[in-house]
């Protein structure tokens, strides 16, 4: 819970991790990848305020106490959603598995939501594992990393036939929140690995599932925005937008937020700290304090009020995950309706126009 100016915000951290990337977990022969991955994450932390930077040793392996303090005690978070990332080709026990998250989370009832993951290249065995994880941990969501390396393959697409089998099982099991994270590699390597058009296809084919595109499709925000206007079940995960831009590039943060508010809208945006890349405290406080500057260059962007910030910081995610929000944090009924926007007409027109630039 965060309180500011007499307003109380219920905070759901929609994207965070409990990883072990220390050398004791590196796969022999793949040390350079394990090291390269965590160093890359650490560089992202460098985009946050200096006083929140950690030494690389702590960043590789932080403790349960660190997490509980940074996320809940100091970080204002009420409920946090664990997003696993396996990377077992590089990390012996996985970088951040469903089990590792749940073993920790079990000690703190009510604080965590456990998402799981799957990889269509794991075939029938992977489907069994998905079923087991859902049964054991009560998963309502999963995190997919399409650039993951697997037995010589450098990635996959959501439109692969094998992925459809998994999506069908997700639908059957009630794993309705599909978090999609794009990365730099994909088969074949000559295609753009960050392309989000596969999300567009599956969002149409699986209307019962919600697709949360993590870090809003960065570095393809424009493709993500065009797609999200057309698909009612596509959401924007703000991890990296707040953490990576709000402090380091405040003017770009204003513009990216403006574009997201215009194309996607405040009802479909979800806060995620991406902890331990960035601590939630400065992100929550900064976001509540943030206002679109009253300058000409930002004049055609929608404004975000207190109600919109409450939705983005927690209420939108709570709705997707069925998290109970105490009445004091809820919005009055009229604020729950989608923000009225004359821009919607413009966006709707898109379907009749030739699509430029794509």
């Amino acid at each position: 819970m965060y309180e500011s100016n007499g307003e109380r915000y219920f905070i759901v951290d929609g994207h965070m991790h409990y990883w072990n990337a220390a050398p004791d977990n590196w796969v022999p022969g793949a040390e350079q990848y394990a090291k390269g991955w965590i160093e890359c994450f650490h560089a992202y932390q460098g985009l946050g305020p200096p006083q929140t930077h950690w030494p690389i040793e702590k960043f590789m392996k932080y403790s349960e106490d660190d997490l509980m303090r940074d996320v809940f005690t100091d970080g204002h978070v009420d409920v946090a959603i664990f997003q696993p990332t396996y990377l077992k080709e590089w990390y012996r026990e996985g970088f951040n598995t469903t089990e590792r998250n749940a073993l920790m989370g079990e000690k703190h009832p009510g604080k965590f939501v456990y998402n799981t993951r799957w990889d269509p290249r794991d075939g029938d065995a992977g489907l069994e594992e998905l079923r087991r994880n859902v049964e054991r941990f009560g998963c309502k969501g999963c995190k997919l990393y399409t650039a993951e390396w697997n037995a010589g393959s450098r990635g996959w697409k959501l439109t692969d036939p094998a992925a459809y089998r998994y999506l069908e099982v997700c639908q059957e099991l009630g794993v309705t929140n599909i978090h999609v994270h794009k990365g730099p590699t994909i088969w074949p390597l000559d295609k753009d690995a960050f392309d989000v058009s596969d999300v567009d296809h599956v969002a149409t084919d699986f209307p019962g599932l919600n697709f949360i595109v993590e870090h809003v499709g960065l570095p393809r925000i424009e493709d993500f925005c065009f797609m999200a206007t057309q698909e009612p079940n596509v959401y924007a995960g703000l991890a990296v937008v707040i953490g990576g831009l709000m402090h380091a590039r405040p003017q770009f943060f204003n513009k990216v937020m403006g574009e997201l508010l215009f194309w996607v809208g405040e009802d479909k945006m979800l806060f995620g700290s991406d902890y331990a890349i960035w601590e939630p405290k400065w992100q929550v406080e900064g976001f509540v304090n943030w206002e679109m500057p009253d300058r000409e260059e930002f004049s055609d962007y929608p404004r975000l009020g207190v109600a919109g910030k409450k939705k983005i910081l927690g209420l939108n995610a709570a709705k997707l995950y069925g998290i109970t929000v105490p009445g004091e944090f809820q919005l009055p009924a009229e604020a729950g309706a989608p923000a009225a926007r004359e821009d919607a007409q413009l966006v709707d027109d898109r379907s009749q126009q030739p699509v430029a630039g794509s």
Partner: protein, 246 residues
């Protein structure tokens, strides 16, 4: 008589200038101003040695390949350069990229079994994004100066007040084989070259803007990551380009 060291220094400067023509295809900026050139030297005998660096160990290998290959071509074409070696450092695919470029193997052969084709399509996709972003760079000042959006729709490139952004837009359009002469419409669909209709105008301008915001935000993140990774500025990187956002 000129000392060999002076000749080498002048050739090194010439190669660095040639590298300014090499762009990151995603960010549409020269690799020099982005800080991606770690070092650039030419020996007295005319052997050029270029070292490149990127913001992360896992930057996309296809774009990395294009930058190394383009840098090789640019350095090799400088008069007086006898041989060129371009090496990408600290990247997961350094060996495949460096070896492939040195052997003039092409992308598909450099990543045998992992790539189905060359990168021309990918490059063209990103040039089209650069055209959209460049459209916003040209149009926003015109709109801010009070020009009516409908007037932009009727405007020809020759009527656009001269600016670096306008030159750049024409260049990118020409690279794609799109109309780029004085008589060409300012606003075209970069996929087809067709003029933008009045009905499509508001959305077109909106898309141009979000494309520019996306590229600039990415560029901001890349610069921040690079600075975290390497303490020193790159060869040919002006310090002033760093902090335009603060």
């Amino acid at each position: 008589m000129t000392a060999p060291a002076d000749v080498a220094a002048a050739a090194g400067q010439a190669v660095l200038e040639a590298l300014e023509t090499v762009r990151d295809p995603e960010l549409d900026e020269p690799i020099t101003s982005l800080g991606f050139v770690a070092s650039c030297t030419v020996s007295a005998d005319g052997d050029a040695r270029v070292r490149l660096r990127l913001p992360t160990y896992f930057c996309a290998p296809n774009f990395a390949y294009l930058m190394v290959a383009d840098a090789y071509d640019a350095a090799s074409a400088v008069p007086g350069v006898r041989s060129a070696e371009v090496v990408l450092e600290d990247h997961f695919a350094s060996d495949a990229i460096n070896g492939g470029v040195a052997a003039r193997a092409g992308f598909a052969r450099s990543f045998a079994g992992e790539a189905a084709g060359e990168l021309d399509g990918l490059r063209a996709d990103f040039l089209r994004k650069a055209v959209m972003a460049g459209t916003d760079q040209v149009c926003r000042p015109l709109l801010a100066a009070g020009r009516d959006p409908a007037a932009l729709q009727a405007m020809r490139l020759g009527e656009v007040p001269p600016s670096r952004a306008a030159d750049r837009l024409r260049q990118r359009r020409a690279e794609l084989g799109l109309p780029a002469g004085d008589d060409a419409p300012l606003l075209i669909d970069p996929a087809t070259g067709a003029p933008v209709s009045e009905a499509a105008l508001p959305l077109h301008l909106r898309k141009a803007h979000v494309t520019r915001v996306s590229i600039e935000a990415n560029s901001g993140i890349c610069r921040g990551m690079l600075r975290h990774r390497y303490a020193t500025p790159g060869a040919g990187q002006a310090a002033a380009s760093e902090e335009e956002d603060r």
